[in-house]
Amino acid sequence: MTEPPRPPPRFEQPSLPAFAAYLALIAFFVVSLSGTGASISDFVSGLPQIARLVGEMLPPSTARLGPVSWALLETFQMAFVGTVIGVLLSVPIAVLATRHLSPHPAIYHAARTHIAFFRTVPDLVWALLFVVSVGLGPFAGTLAIIVDKIGFCGRFFAEAMEEAERGPQEALAAIGARRSAKVACAVLPAAMPSFVATSLFSLEKATRSSVILGLVGAGGIGIELKVAMDLFSYDEAATIILAIFALVLLVERASAWLRARMI
């Protein structure tokens, strides 16, 4: 009776370069941890401070509920308008950044570079630039969100269009359709579910961002939170944080509901 064949080893033995790379990665993590100044004792000694802060936040103050509500509405308006305009501007840029739809390789690379630049510069930096250019207020924040959305949606829209089924595109090319007709009739309908999902996720992301943008004077509820913290009005800060939580939760729920129905 012959022996049954032995199964292969459970884990592949890494090559020497791969083993060296793993070691280097672990070493870099240890060095980085030290670079962050992480300290267990500092964390433990800070716990009573956190408890004190939370104690001062409770109960949340309702004294400035009116202004906080208006600031919250302004925050969502910035996120909504910025997302809608950003998404609309992203579509033509994404078409130019889609390899097989772009009219020329140079245009493709230029569009990809612009999208990468818009995406890699943080929205807070864009907000600082726009505060300097157009002044303090929600308009600067809205412009920052628009640019951030072009970077975010442009990339995902282009990838969705590159992955769109090629058969219908070939069929329309065989009919003699122009590039614009191929994009409108075959590519966009195929990529639409991905566009909707990305746009709704963008709105969620923009709602969270628009809170932070206020910290640099670009409108929204962020400035209210900063003032409350600076004046040690922690009970007012708690109200603002709860309001932000409610808004973000509402937008996420609404977005999930819409996604389920539209895709």
Binding site: E170, A171, A174, C185, P189
Partner: protein
């Protein structure tokens, strides 16, 4: 296999006034693989020609080369009197508007209605945006598209999304889209290969009936040898990118053609 004759693949085609397609010495390589090795033949106006051959024989590549959906490496293609390889982008688009192309996997836009898909047949001739979606199209184009759907028996499901149609219905919508082009010639790449035998028979009969009524020229590929003999006036067989048979369908038998696959 009486009537069959072997022909030299490097001979130039004889172009006459009634020739819709003249392919001369077309070659195509994909990397190291030679897919077409100097294919030469003509198709007179009004004739139905079946292209047969095993998988990889070059049938689909040949059809695509004729419309430059794939660029041939060498050779000439004259289609409806025009030198296909010499056309610029606008000229090529204009030529393609006159050629209906039915694909094996119908290639409909799944998220659009059957009517919008048929309307796309007019993309080459309609004004900008007029043939994109049925909701935005002028009434005359919508009515013409409905007529094309009615001719393939699907007027009742005009508003149904294409990805909710059966295989047979999808292929009939693809045929309606080709008719919407008001074509002078039809290319069909294994038009019923994705359908079950009964649906395939039904769609093929409908397809050929519509083509004969309009006296269109037809070049179609098929793995179904019975279809090739029954529906074509002439059969061309390819093997390894070369023509090994070019004969009237009337004298051919399925058994005789099957021998070409050995």
């Amino acid at each position: 296999m009486s009537g069959a004759r072997l022909r030299a693949t490097d001979a130039l085609p004889a172009i006459t006034a009634g020739t819709d397609l003249a392919v001369g010495g077309v070659t195509k390589r994909f990397g190291a693989t030679q897919v077409l090795g100097g294919v030469t033949f003509t198709v007179p106006a009004g004739q139905a020609v079946a292209l047969i051959g095993a998988n990889g024989a070059g049938k689909s590549t040949l059809l695509r080369c004729c419309l430059r959906l794939i660029e041939p490496d060498a050779g000439s293609v004259r289609l409806l009197g025009r030198d296909v390889r010499g056309l610029d982008a606008a000229g090529l688009r204009a030529l393609r508007t006159e050629i209906g192309f039915v694909f094996q996997k119908h290639n409909l836009v799944g998220r659009l209605s059957a009517l919008s898909n048929v309307l796309h047949g007019a993309l080459g001739r309609a004004a900008f945006g007029n043939a994109w979606f049925q909701s935005l199209a002028p009434q005359a184009l919508r009515e013409e598209a409905m007529d094309c759907l009615a001719r393939v028996g699907l007027a009742a499901i005009a508003d149904r999304r294409a990805d909710r149609l059966s295989g047979g219905q999808s292929q009939r919508v693809a045929i309606a889209r080709a008719l919407m082009q008001r074509p002078r010639m039809i290319f069909a790449n294994e038009p019923v290969a994705s359908l079950d035998p009964a649906a395939g028979e039904e769609v093929m009969a409908l397809f050929l009936d519509l083509i004969r009524r309009q006296r269109l020229t037809l070049l179609f590929t098929s793995h179904d040898l019975a279809h090739a003999i029954a529906f074509a006036d002439r059969v061309i067989a390819l093997r390894a990118g070369a023509i090994v048979l070019d004969a009237p369908a009337a004298g051919l038998t399925v058994t005789g053609l099957r021998a070409l696959y050995d």
